[in-house]
């Protein structure tokens, strides 16, 4: 523990060096801007700005601090377009739209933005603290998480889906299956066989998750806006000077705490990142809320705080396997890992011995970055919220332009532009017919993870299905799944019985 504090103080000395501090701030600020563009999340933000940081000839610790700032900034920025425009800023922000956007529509954009900034801050900070204190320990647990444990985790995640049930359970199920079907397009990760690609090279590697999100949500929203405008249903959005209140924080404090931890642990696992973390957090919280969770999806502050705390929690968690083992836990950390190698720094446990100033400087910059982001973001809330006062006739085309920029600038494939338009029409149709899009997204996120890990587990065992319940971890997760499935309804029915009992005894 002493080495942790000694290292941390060395790190703060590096990160608080005026020049580096300046880079943290610059990184956070430009990260927020770039993350606010729909489609450009932390992965692409870091990837795009990495060459600039490299060619600017910065010393390695400064460059990495700058990139970490961008990473965190983009994670924060993702919520802006989710809340204001109902267009997810990145993959991890899909679930932020579910309650964030209804709040904005009720005129509480400021409250939503500021609450999400606070939830992000708490999620981010908790995960950095956990990472500093228990990093190596957690990493050793995480690597033992084997394919059958992932299968158990996916079963847990799909159980959360049961809580997303809308008016018609069959439609929810069909929506999820459609998501899974979309995810099955492309080359099979186990046997290399192409599935449902019809010889189109652009989808040989599968449809990019981002394209699906921007298409279903972004373009779908755009068409809905036009429809409402024509039918005169489009009210001018009220922009109150709302802000997060102490009471809001008290209501959501346990939600934020739980989801920060949940997000962090899911982030630590290699292969699962912000999108899985926010999906599971949202579903679990709705489940835990029980009867009162019915307001989820209509602008419930708990439904906003949960995915926000979780996706920032996972950002810190994803750093654990990278810093301790040199294994990237997510797409973004894979790029940070590449950045480390570019600067001739070898990630992994040796980094703390060989280049402590970089390792600890990076960690310290995450603490500073989180605080800086909260300070930068809260005053910007009013500014962002005012974006909603842009008249619809201008805002609607701008949404399309932003979506095009987001999709095109990363991969430069015009095919993706057609894809988002097609998916947009599909998303609009689904919404018109009373389907919820959240299960579709959940299906896409979890589909490949589920199938690949199931088949991986079976290849390891040579076809023996018992491998799925061999480890204690898997069994523990299944028990947890049963709890989340049965306890909330049980509790609420007991409560109801108690209430009726009380009512009858009073009478």
């Amino acid at each position: 523990m002493d080495t942790v504090f000694a290292g941390l103080s060395q790190g703060f000395a590096v990160a608080l060096n005026p020049i580096n501090f300046f880079y943290v701030i610059i990184g956070c600020f430009s990260g927020t801007l770039i993350g606010a563009l729909p489609g450009i999340g932390p992965i692409n933000g870091v990837a795009i700005l990495l060459p600039i940081a490299y060619s600017a000839g910065l010393p390695p610790e400064s460059a990495l601090i700058l990139l970490a700032g961008i990473y965190y900034g983009a994670e924060y920025g993702g919520r802006v377009s989710s809340i204001l425009l109902n267009v997810p800023g990145d993959a991890g922000a899909v679930f932020t739209t579910l309650d964030g956007n209804p709040m904005a529509k009720k005129g509480e954009a400021g409250r939503a933005l500021s609450l999400s900034a606070v939830a992000s801050f708490i999620g981010g900070t908790i995960s950095v603290i956990l990472m500093t204190l228990f990093g190596p320990l957690l990493a050793s647990v995480a690597i033992h998480f084997n394919p059958s444990d992932y299968v158990a985790l996916m079963v847990f995640a799909f159980t959360c889906l049961a809580s997303l049930v809308g008016k018609n359970p069959i439609k929810t199920l069909l929506a999820a299956v459609m998501g899974l079907m979309i995810a099955s397009i492309g080359i099979d990760a186990n046997t290399g066989v192409a599935r449902f690609t019809f010889g189109i090279p652009d989808i040989l590697a599968g449809i990019d998750f981002l394209v699906i999100v921007i298409g279903l949500f972004g373009m779908g929203e755009l068409i809905t806006l036009v429809e409402h405008q024509v039918t005169g249903k489009l009210a001018v959005l009220p922009v109150g000077k709302s802000f997060v209140s102490w009471k809001d924080l008290m209501v959501t404090k346990w939600v934020i705490l739980r989801c920060s931890l949940l997000g962090f642990f899911i982030g630590v696992l290699p292969g699962t990142g912000a999108s899985v973390a926010s999906a599971v957090a949202y579903g679990t919280e709705k489940r835990i809320a029980g009867k009162s969770g019915e307001s989820f999806g209509t602008g419930d502050i708990r439904g906003l705080a949960a995915p926000e705390a979780a996706n920032n929690g996972s950002a810190g968690g994803a750093m654990v396997p990278m810093l301790t083992l040199g294994i990237p836990g997510s797409g973004t950390t894979a790029i940070l890992l590449g950045a480390l190698l570019l600067f001739n720094v070898t990630p992994g446990p040796l980094m703390f011995v060989q280049r402590p100033e970089i390792a600890w400087g990076l960690i310290a910059s995450m603490y500073i970055g989180n605080i800086a982001l909260l300070i930068i973001n809260l005053p910007l809330v009013g500014f962002f919220a005012r974006l909603l006062t842009i008249p619809q006739k201008y805002l609607t085309p701008l949404i399309a332009v932003l979506a095009f920029i987001g999709v095109y600038s990363v991969v430069s494939n015009p095919f993706d532009l057609y894809m988002i338009i097609g998916l947009g029409v599909f998303g609009w149709l689904l919404r018109k017919l009373g389907f919820s899009l959240a299960p579709v997204i959940l299906g896409v996120v979890l589909g490949n993870l589920f199938e690949d890990n199931l088949r991986r587990a079976l290849s390891i065992s040579g076809g023996d299905w018992m491998i799925l319940i061999e480890s204690g971890r898997s069994i523990a997760i299944y028990v947890l799944t049963a709890l989340i499935l049965f306890v909330p309804p049980l509790v609420s029915s007991l409560r109801r019985r108690a209430a009726t009992n009380a009512a009858t005894s009073e009478a």
């Binding site: 099955s184 095009f404 600038s409 338009i421």
Partner: protein
């Protein structure tokens, strides 16, 4: 009714999906007992059952879109497609200016407003994203050639 139509279309798609999964997808050899085909097969069956249920018991979801609205929506989809087609050919600035101008005009801006808005969003958007954030946006094949000449 809308539910039934959608259910039928979805059913046809699930059946095609299932047909491919049951007949075409096959690995030369595999190390897991499921192979590439088992998962899609399960999905197709579940999807088809869901579709049948929706066709049998539609939940009466109304799909009210007036002809007028539908034309507008079709127009927007057309504009978006045109934007996508022109995006690389004309480059970001010109295609964005056209798209923003036309769509804002349709959504109720005056002619002068929409022209100004189109030009502004094309140029500002490019300056901000390509210049400041160094994102990769198409300059347009036309301009590339002009520069070479």
């Amino acid at each position: 009714m809308a539910d039934r139509i959608f259910g039928s279309i979805a059913l046809v798609i699930s059946l095609i999906y299932g047909f491919i999964a049951f007949t075409i997808i096959k690995a030369p050899f595999q190390y897991d007992p499921l192979g590439p085909e088992a998962w899609p097969r399960i999905l197709s069956v579940v999807a088809a059952l869901c579709c049948l249920y929706i066709i049998a018991r539609p939940d009466g979801q109304k799909f009210k879109v007036l002809g007028h609205t539908l034309t507008r929506i079709a127009l927007v989809v057309f504009f978006l497609s045109a934007y996508a087609v022109l995006f690389e050919r004309l480059g970001f600035i010109v295609s964005t200016a056209l798209f923003c101008g036309v769509l804002s005009r349709m959504l109720g801006a005056t002619a002068k407003q929409s022209v100004l808005f189109g030009i502004a969003s094309g140029i500002l958007g490019y300056g901000l994203c390509a210049g400041l954030l160094d994102l990769n946006l198409p300059t347009g094949a036309i301009f590339k050639n002009l520069k070479l000449l």
